[in-house]
């Protein structure tokens, strides 16, 4: 499994290679805990994600999967332990938080496109105001990514005029326009009609094939099998088990994992 991932990482995304050395991990989480009031949501999370690695997080609802990836770009605050993203440790320091968020893209379950802006404006907003990209260049980049997600003809429409699958593809393109080094997916297909799931997964697969560092919280086990380098199983705020997809699905170690897999794989 590790061999093909290295070759794709080397062939694509040459620009990223000089930014980060492949030895340095993209994300390092060390002994992290999080509470909501008295409720202990995340317990002693230790996770290292290498550059170009694709990770799928699975687990029953309420197990803390979404909370975990939302901690990575500080949409949620952790109370104990360390989270280091691209060599920057997340603390209460706003400057560091902005620095991390610029390099980490996120795709939400409910898309969260800006309804008052056109698709093109949705895509150019952050590059113009955060990166200081000239408008013409930002629009060229935006059109490039709209073509990648196969909806360039929708550029001047508003989000409300698009189908769910199209909106989610726009949301992915919007994150990509910031040229992030890491992409987080928070159940990106859960709010979609069944016939639209594939078009979104196809975009995610092609992204994975180009060597993007990705963490996906998803129930799409076919996707996990096809692209993941590692599947992580969480329950009750803990990482119970992690393994290569082949091993994970065919030979789960933990009782809880076996039960979960028997429930979702029919």
């Amino acid at each position: 499994m590790s061999e093909p991932s290295q070759t794709t990482a080397a062939s694509g995304q040459a620009t990223r290679q000089d930014k980060a050395t492949s030895t340095k991990p993209a994300i390092e989480i060390i002994g992290m805990h999080k509470w909501y009031g008295d409720f202990h949501v995340l317990r002693d999370i230790n996770l290292t994600v290498g550059d170009g690695e694709r990770i799928v997080i699975a687990g029953p609802s309420g197990s803390g999967k979404s909370t975990l990836i939302r901690c990575v770009n500080r949409l949620e605050e952790h109370q104990e332990g360390q989270i280091i993203v691209n060599g920057v440790e997340l603390t209460a320091d706003l400057k560091r938080i902005d620095e991390v968020r610029r390099e980490v893209g996120m795709v939400f379950q409910h898309f969260n496109l800006f309804p008052h802006l056109t698709i093109l404006q949705n895509l150019t907003l952050a590059p113009i105001w955060v990166r200081g990209t000239p408008k013409a260049a930002a629009e060229a980049t935006a059109m490039h990514y709209l073509e990648r997600v196969k909806i360039p003809e929708q550029a001047n429409k508003f989000p409300g005029q698009l189908s769910g699958g199209q909106q989610q593809r726009v949301a992915i393109a919007r994150s990509l326009c910031m040229q992030p080094r890491i992409m987080l997916f928070d159940e990106p297909t859960s709010a979609l009609d069944p016939e639209m799931v594939k078009e979104v997964l196809d975009v995610m697969i092609s992204l994975a094939e180009e060597g993007m560092t990705m963490i996906c919280v998803t129930h799409e086990m076919g996707f996990a099998r096809q692209v993941a380098d590692r599947v992580i199983f969480m329950d009750q705020g803990q990482i119970i088990e992690q393994n290569e997809p082949e091993q994970f699905f065919s030979n789960p170690q933990h009782e809880r994992t076996k039960l979960f897999l028997s429930q979702i794989l029919h």
Binding site: R101, V130, P134, K157, F158, M178
Partner: protein
Amino acid sequence: MTALDAGPTEAPRTFFFNDPVIRGIVYQIVVGLILVSFIAWIIGNTAANLAAQNKTTGFDFLWKTAGFDISFSLLPWSRASTYWQAFLVGITNTLLVAFIGIVVATILGFTIGIARLSSNFIISSLATVYVETIRNIPLLLQLFFWYFAVLKTMPAVRDSYELPLDSFINQRGIFFPQPLPDAQFGFVWIGLAVAIVGVLVLRRWARKRLEATGQRFPVFLTSLAVLLVLPALVWLISGAQVAFDPPVLGRFNFEGGVQLPPEFLALLFGLSIYTASFIAETVRGGIQAVNHGQTEAAQSLGLKEGDRLRLVIVPQAMRVIVPPLTSQYLNLTKNSSLGAAIGYPELVNVFSGTALNQTGRAIECIALTMLVYLILSLLTSAIMNWYNARVTLVER
């Protein structure tokens, strides 16, 4: 079986009154007839009663001398002025208090509305107490409070409290110096106008530059500097002078300066503070109506807090805020008629009060007064509807 033989070409017969189209027409004719006969009866009845009391009707009284005093007027007014002029004085006084009231209530309301969402416990509780107290006390009572309990309990003229800048406050209101700019001062106004145009050009240029090169320009601070420095420079160079005519204690009252009577102040305080509490709730609701996912999406794109508010949250919140805000502006304008209760000479007081009593032309006076409020309200809603149509989301 005969029905089947008739074939599908012939629809089954219905009684004509069960046809919704015909029924609708019949209902409309009936309602129309009732309305027309009601209006005819009202007019006939009024005319007959007026004739029985030997009263004449018509608007000719407008050109007659009014012969009464008005305590506060922006327009020239004397006892020799006509009822038409009294009408205009009433309108300007209403517009004056409504306009200033709307500006103050908007600033106060937005501040308190945002304060209610503050994560600072003391600030948000203070804002909550303000809203829940002010909103739940009748406006008329609040006007009485400001007028009788606050402003009318000020000392008599001779014992006035001195305020900074040669100003005084007493039973008869606030007195402050009147600025008297000389002819040269016109250049300063021109300078200010140039500065405003300059700022607008600057904003466009900054936007263009951002789009072209991606570099941001500190528009707000620069604009502020231009607005202050340019008129000040013109003032220095032109050598314009502004004399001040301070209020001086005369025999019975202050002479010179500008006087804001307590009636005006009480009405302005009451209207602004009362309406601000409703605007605050509108603003809070509007901001809360924007899905939290919008904030999260903007955060995860790396937008800083100021940009998040300006580019993502506020434009969406304004869609929710504007329609109820319009109705608050209309309420404030119409509520200004309560000024009649504390003797502020606004339209209802002057025209549907004094003028009506003196002329006895009740129908004419009331109708004209109503017409003014109707036009003001319709104008305001027309403008707000236009704005609303512009910011509506495209969904289909």
